[in-house]
């Protein structure tokens, strides 16, 4: 099992609902409501759920294309949450998250902590000598550098290969932009790099002076992948990266992603609504429903022993390309409720075939039922 490269802790993202002439905030869309998970080095972590479950928001928030409402995003034992905050907000965040706790607990806390907390505590007590101001300035010192580095290490592949490539740039500029911006290489050397990457993803290098419209959907997605890989990132988030592609092209791209992962030692977060694709490509899988993580387990474990009723229903709802396997489908009644006003207790209870009274009152916590199999349900395994 690899080292943890990305840790998402209690991630919350609310979007305001505005109404009226003055655009007053009248409510909140709770797109992501307290999601935690870890991604290990060189694995593929699959995030699966239906539309509106918040899986894309999780991806976008990790990349700080959205600012998180609360929670922490830790990359390689570095808290990246405040990287893209304005200065005042970053100060407040560091003070609230670390300084107050460190001051309250005293130096003895260092031994009890691990990971990023321990590192920061050591900086606080040793380097900054308990001075909050000094501590904050140490953390914010090379923020520009940190931001740039973060952008380099975290990349994304988008769903739609048509709208995600700038139609007015040639392929060489699309793929080479990052290489130039991050001063990895310039001039001829940059061009060579672009060539190698394009060949890696199966686009002939002499195509690099073409524009996106000259390519088919599958080829465009390859260009999008080349762009994501151009900076040798640590983590690549693939947000529905194969959903828009035809079946025969989809399998090409899935195989390509798998090959690239091996060659470039990549870590993927693979976001998809398609459980079959997620099953194929992932090592561990998290199932989301209405802004919550409802189940998280190893792929093998999840498919042989799904415990959350939603996971079971989701699996049984997928049509299998095999006519004799006309199995008994579990048909969930109704629709996914609105994330503005999510149901009380367990958010799945209005559609759950085994819901009891407690389910509408108490929210089940995500807990380990053994072997790293996490599930948020009062009656795990109650539906088969």
């Amino acid at each position: 099992m690899g080292r943890v490269v990305l840790k998402v802790e209690n991630l919350v993202k609310y979007f305001p609902v505005k109404a009226g002439v003055f655009k007053r905030t009248v409510g909140w869309i709770r797109a992501v409501d307290g999601v935690s998970f870890e991604v290990r080095e060189r694995e593929t972590f699959g995030l699966v759920g239906e539309s509106g479950c918040g899986k894309t928001t999780v991806g976008m928030t990790i990349l700080r294309l959205y600012e998180p409402t609360s929670g922490r995003i830790i990359v390689d034992d570095e808290d990246t949450t405040y990287f893209f905050f304005p200065k005042w907000k970053a100060r407040r965040y560091i003070s609230n998250t670390y300084v107050k706790r460190f001051l309250a607990e005293g130096e003895g806390i260092v031994e009890k902590l691990e990971g990023v907390d321990r590192r920061y505590a050591e900086i606080f007590f040793k380097e900054a000598k308990k001075s909050p101001r000094k501590f904050i300035s140490i953390l914010l010192d090379d923020l520009e550098e940190k931001r740039k580095n973060f952008r380099k290490e975290m990349q994304i592949i988008f769903q739609d290969p048509y709208s995600s490539l700038n139609p007015r740039l040639r392929v060489k500029s699309i793929v080479g932009e990052g290489i130039v911006v991050h001063k990895i290489a310039g001039g001829r050397e940059a061009l060579e790099k672009v060539k190698t990457i394009l060949e890696d993803v199966g686009i002939p290098a002499n195509y690099m002076y073409r524009f996106p419209h000259e390519f088919s959907g599958g080829q465009r997605q390859r260009i999008g992948i080349a762009r994501a890989l151009s900076l040798s990132p640590k983590v690549v988030i693939a947000d529905e990266a194969v959903a828009a592609l035809d079946v025969s092209i989809r399998s090409q791209i899935i195989n390509l992603l798998e090959d690239l992962q091996r060659e470039h030692k990549l870590t993927y977060i693979f976001i998809s609504h398609d459980l079959a694709v997620v099953r194929h490509i992932s090592d561990r899988i998290g199932v989301m429903y209405l802004g919550k993580m409802v189940e998280l387990a190893d792929k093998k474990e999840l498919f042989s022993n799904p415990l959350h009723p939603y996971t079971v229903a989701l699996m049984s709802a997928i049509p299998i390309p095999d006519p004799t396997r006309k199995k008994q489908r579990i048909i969930l009644p109704g629709d996914v409720p609105s994330p503005i006003n999510p149901p009380s207790g367990c958010r799945f209870h209005p559609r759950c075939p085994i819901a009891r009274e407690v389910c509408s009152k108490e929210e089940p916590l995500l807990r380990d039922v053994g072997g790293g199999h996490l599930v948020a349900c009062h009656f795990p395994g109650g539906l088969r």
Partner: protein, 321 residues
Amino acid sequence: MTALLEVRDLSTYFFLSEGIVKAVDEVSFTLNSNEVLGIVGETGSGKSVTVKSIMRLVRVPGKIVKGQVLYKGQNLLELSERDMQKIRGKEIAMIFQDPMMSLNPLYTVGDQLMETIVYHMGYDRRKAYMRAVEMLELVGIPEPEKRMNSYPFEFSGGMRQRVVIAIALSCNPSVLIADEPTTALDVTIQAQILELMKELQREFKTGMLYITHNLGVIASIADRVMVMYGGRHVEMGLTDQIFYSPKHPYTKMLLRSVPRVDKRLEKLESIPGQPPRMLDTPPVCPFLPRCPRRLERCFRELPQMVEVEPNHFVRCFNPMD
């Protein structure tokens, strides 16, 4: 016995400034009542244009250049537009992919249901209202009388698709054409809609053309399957034949390239190359450039549909064993 719907050598071309796109090229098939024929194919294979041609909904620069569409023995391509309007919705109804596009956002669901019923069945408004409520109830919309006054935006995607199904079935059509009706929906909602369509199809003994690119959906709903590629039908047979003993190399490779929920495949088999560019295609097998089993003969002539076992037809000189 004459088939309910018979399509013979249907060809629809699009005349563009760059050249001619043979979107549908000599496609033939039959559909009987109380039968579901699945049409499966990828983007650009011509499956949607085929059914649009049947309904005569192809617009310029597209043109139906030849062929016959026989509905109960009557050639729809020879009817006047006026007579055709009596067929659409009444005899042959259609469900489209995106329910938001097929419902008018400015009219209530009730109005839209009743419009169809009044036009085709000649009911008065009171009777049409009763029928509309009955239909909404049939497709599983709770509190149908209240929902008659709702606008499409007040419904969720799955509910909207139910309304579209209600409209399509309101005049008891003999043929129902469903063009990717569940593609825009989530899997749990897709399961609901599929179940509903199967149930209603059996109840009314409708002949149904079900178009999709999703092999899983086809396997669960179709009695027979037609596989299309590059504007041509390349294989046709009973669902079991297509899934268990596919004869066309394309069908076989397509089936192997789908990731499965029910089992782990080591590596997905992928079909090399790109889907065909449809411009000015030569009269050979459209799959030729990507085919691993091609023969020299394939470069010279187009194979015809050959019956390899009862009910199972394939267009290939070198079919799989």
